[in-house]
C-alpha cells in the first residue's frame, strides 16, 4: 500500500518503513527480529501519539484533508450491514459530490447522506473535490423527506471544502438550495445525527449538519471560511501569503473539534486511532458506529414534538453577545 505522508508525519514514515522492512526479512521465524519488531512498534505508537496529541490547527486542517483519510463511502462500507445508493434530485442531475441512500447499521434502518471526495485524479474530478452543486443539496433534501415519510433516522457525514462556486451553481440557486436544507433539517420529524469526518467547509458543510447531535472526529475541522481564504482577506494586501499565514489564520479561526466542543457548538468528539483515521480506518469506523448506535438508543423513543423543541433550543443558544450597560 502506497501511503501519503505529510511533512510532520515523516518521522512516523521512517519508523513504519523500518518496521515493514524488518517484518519482510524476519518472516515471523527469527525470535530476535520479533523482539525488535515489538520494540519498534511500541516506539512508532509512542511517536504517533506524541505528534498527534500536539497537532496545531493548521496541521489538523491538513490531516482533515489527508488524501488517505477515509471518505463517506469508505465509512458507509465499513459501518453498514447493507446500503443501497440512490441517485438524482429529480429536477436537474445527480451530483456525485453528495452521496445518499438507504442503509442499515446493526439492523437499524436509516437514511445516510454525505459529501463525497474522490481518490485519484479522475475520481477527484468526477466528485468535484467534494464541492456540491445545488442538485446535490436537492438530492439530500429529497432523501431527508423520504426518511421522514418512512420514519427513518437520518445520518449525515460531513466532508467538503465548501459548496462549489461556479456559474451553473449560481444559475441553479446554490444559496437557495443550502438555505432550504437548513430550514428543512431544523424541522425534520425524525432524529438527525451528523458527524464531521474530515473537512467542514462553511455553508456547504452546514447544509448537511443541522442535527439533534453533531459530532466531530478528533482531527476533523469545521470553519466559517478556509484558513487560506481567511489569510487572503486579512493579509494578501501586504504581499504574498503562504504556509505561515495559513497557520496563523487556522489558529485565529478556532476550527478544531476541541475548540468547538469548548464553545458547545458540537455535542461530542469521536476518538481517532493512533496516528489518525487514515492509519486505521476500521478502528475509526468502529468508533463512529458505536457513537451512532448509542445516540440512536438515546433518541429513538423521544416524542417528535419534544425532539424538535430540543433541536430548536440547541440552535437557539448558539451565539455570544452582551447587553449595553447604560
Amino acid at each position: 500500500m502506497i501511503r501519503y505522508y505529510l511533512d510532520f508525519e515523516k518521522p512516523i514514515q521512517e519508523l513504519e518503513l523500518k518496521i515493514e522492512e524488518l517484518r519482510r526479512l524476519s518472516n515471523g521465524s527469527d525470535k530476535k527480529a520479533e523482539e525488535e519488531l515489538g520494540r519498534l512498534e511500541q516506539q512508532a505508537e509512542t511517536l504517533r501519539n506524541e505528534i498527534f496529541s500536539k497537532l496545531t490547527p493548521w496541521q489538523k486542517t491538513q490531516i482533515a484533508r489527508h488524501p488517505d483519510r477515509p471518505f463517506t463511502m469508505d465509512y458507509i462500507n465499513m459501518i453498514t450491514d447493507d446500503f443501497i445508493e440512490l441517485h438524482g434530485d429529480r429536477r436537474f442531475a445527480d451530483d456525485p459530490a453528495i452521496v445518499g441512500g438507504l442503509g442499515s447499521i446493526d439492523g437499524i434502518n436509516m437514511v445516510i447522506i454525505g459529501h463525497q471526495k474522490g481518490r485519484g485524479t479522475k475520481e477527484r474530478i468526477r466528485r468535484n473535490f467534494g464541492q456540491p452543486h445545488p442538485e446535490g443539496y436537492r438530492k439530500a433534501l429529497r432523501l431527508m423527506e423520504m426518511a421522514e415519510r418512512f420514519r427513518k433516522p437520518v445520518l449525515t457525514l460531513v466532508d467538503t471544502p465548501g459548496a462549489f462556486p461556479g456559474i451553473g451553481a449560481e444559475e441553479r440557486g446554490q444559496a437557495e438550495a443550502i438555505a432550504t436544507c437548513l430550514m428543512v433539517m431544523s424541522r425534520l420529524k425524525v432524529p438527525v445525527i451528523s458527524v464531521v469526518i474530515g473537512e467542514g467547509g462553511s455553508g456547504g458543510a452546514l447544509a448537511l449538519s443541522v442535527a439533534d447531535r453533531l459530532y466531530m472526529l478528533e482531527h476533523s475541522i469545521y470553519s466559517v471560511i478556509s484558513p487560506e481564504g481567511c489569510a487572503a482577506i486579512l493579509w494578501k494586501k501586504n504581499g504574498e501569503i503562504g504556509q505561515e499565514e495559513y497557520a496563523r489564520a487556522a489558529d485565529a479561526l478556532k476550527l478544531t473539534a476541541q475548540d468547538l466542543l469548548k464553545f458547545k457548538i458540537i455535542d461530542g468528539i469521536i476518538q481517532e486511532p493512533s496516528g489518525g483515521a487514515h492509519r486505521d480506518p476500521e478502528a475509526a469506523a468502529m468508533n463512529i458506529k458505536e457513537t451512532i448506535l448509542s445516540t440512536i438508543e438515546e433518541l429513538k423513543d423521544a416524542e417528535i414534538e419534544k425532539l424538535l423543541e430540543e433541536r430548536y433550543k440547541k440552535l437557539r443558544r448558539i451565539g455570544k453577545f452582551t447587553r449595553q450597560s447604560e
Partner: protein
C-alpha cells in the same frame, strides 16, 4: 426606540453614504451626476437607475409609517468570543465601524406599521462591517422572527451583506441555521415572510434567510449570489457574463419573484401583504 432617536441627529450629516461634494460618480454607469438630484431620487442614479447603497435608517423611513417604529433588541452588542487574532483586534474594528456608521451592529430590527399593517421588520446595513452576520445579527433577526411568529404578523427582512462574519468563526456560521429554524416556525404558523434583497447580498445571508422568503423581491441591478464573483472567477478561470448575479439575472433564472424599484417598494410589499391576507 430610545437608542434610535438618540443617534438620529448626529447621523443626519452622514446620511448620504456616497462621496462628499456636489457631484457623485455612479458606480454603475460611471457618469458624474449632481448629488442633490440623486438624493431627491431616493439615492437612485437618474441616468441609469442604479440604486445606491443606503443606510438601514433611510430604508426604515421609506418602508415603515412615520412614528410607528419600535426598536427590538437594540441593546445587544457584539463580543469577541474567539479573541480573534488579526493585525487589528476585532474590538477595534467594531469600534471603528460604530463610529463610521453610527450603528451598533449590521442590522436594525423592530415592529411598526406598513401602510397601517402591523409588521416586524429587520433591515441590514452594509456600512457596518459589510453587513456581515455574526452572533448579534443572527440573534436580532431570530428574535425579530420569533416576535413576528408570536404576534402573528408578517415578517419583512431587507438584506444587504457580504456573508457570515469571519471574526466570530463558527458562531457566525451557526447563525445561518438558527435564523432558518426560526423562519421555519414562522412559516408553519402560516404567516408571510417577504424577503427584500439589496446590493449586495451574498454568502451566509443569501444561503439562509434571504433566500427563504415566501416572496423574494430585489432592487434593480443588485448583486446577489452565494459565492462572490471574484471567487468564482478565480475558481473557474473564466470571465463571467455581463449581467451575472444581477437582480435581473436572478429573475431570469427563476430565483426571485420580481425586481422592484426603490420608489415602488413599500407599495408593492403592501399590495402583496393585502393579497396574502
Amino acid at each position: 426606540m430610545a437608542w434610535f432617536k438618540k443617534t438620529k441627529p448626529k447621523d443626519t450629516n452622514k446620511r448620504v453614504k456616497i462621496p462628499e461634494g456636489l457631484w457623485v460618480k455612479c458606480n454603475s454607469c460611471k457618469e458624474i451626476v449632481y448629488r442633490k438630484e440623486v438624493e431627491r431620487n431616493l439615492q437612485v442614479c437618474p441616468k441609469c437607475n442604479y440604486h445606491f447603497r443606503i443606510s438601514a435608517k433611510e430604508r426604515l423611513t421609506l418602508l415603515i409609517d412615520g412614528g410607528t417604529f419600535q426598536e427590538l433588541a437594540g441593546d445587544i452588542l457584539p463580543t469577541d468570543p474567539l479573541k480573534f487574532k488579526d493585525s487589528k483586534s476585532y474590538k477595534d474594528r467594531l469600534e471603528e465601524n460604530r463610529k463610521k456608521s453610527g450603528l451598533t451592529e449590521a442590522v436594525i430590527t423592530g415592529e411598526g406599521r406598513l401602510n397601517g399593517i402591523p409588521v416586524v421588520i429587520a433591515i441590514m446595513d452594509f456600512h457596518f462591517m459589510g453587513g456581515s452576520m455574526g452572533s448579534v445579527v443572527g440573534e436580532k433577526v431570530t428574535r425579530a422572527t420569533e416576535e413576528a411568529t408570536q404576534k402573528g404578523v408578517p415578517l419583512i427582512i431587507v438584506s444587504s451583506s457580504g456573508g457570515a462574519r469571519m471574526q466570530e468563526g463558527m458562531f457566525s456560521l451557526m447563525q445561518m441555521a438558527k435564523v432558518s429554524a426560526a423562519i421555519a416556525r414562522h412559516k408553519e404558523a402560516g404567516l408571510p415572510y417577504i424577503s427584500v434583497l439589496t446590493d449586495p447580498t451574498f454568502g451566509g445571508v443569501s444561503a439562509s434567510f434571504a433566500m427563504l422568503g415566501d416572496i423574494i423581491i430585489a432592487e434593480p441591478k443588485s448583486l446577489i449570489g452565494f459565492a462572490g464573483p471574484r471567487v468564482i472567477e478565480q475558481t473557474i478561470k473564466q470571465q463571467l457574463p455581463e449581467d451575472f448575479q444581477r437582480a435581473e439575472f436572478l429573475l431570469d433564472h427563476g430565483l426571485i419573484d420580481m425586481v422592484v424599484e426603490r420608489k415602488n417598494m413599500k407599495e408593492t410589499v403592501y399590495r402583496l401583504l393585502t393579497l396574502l391576507k
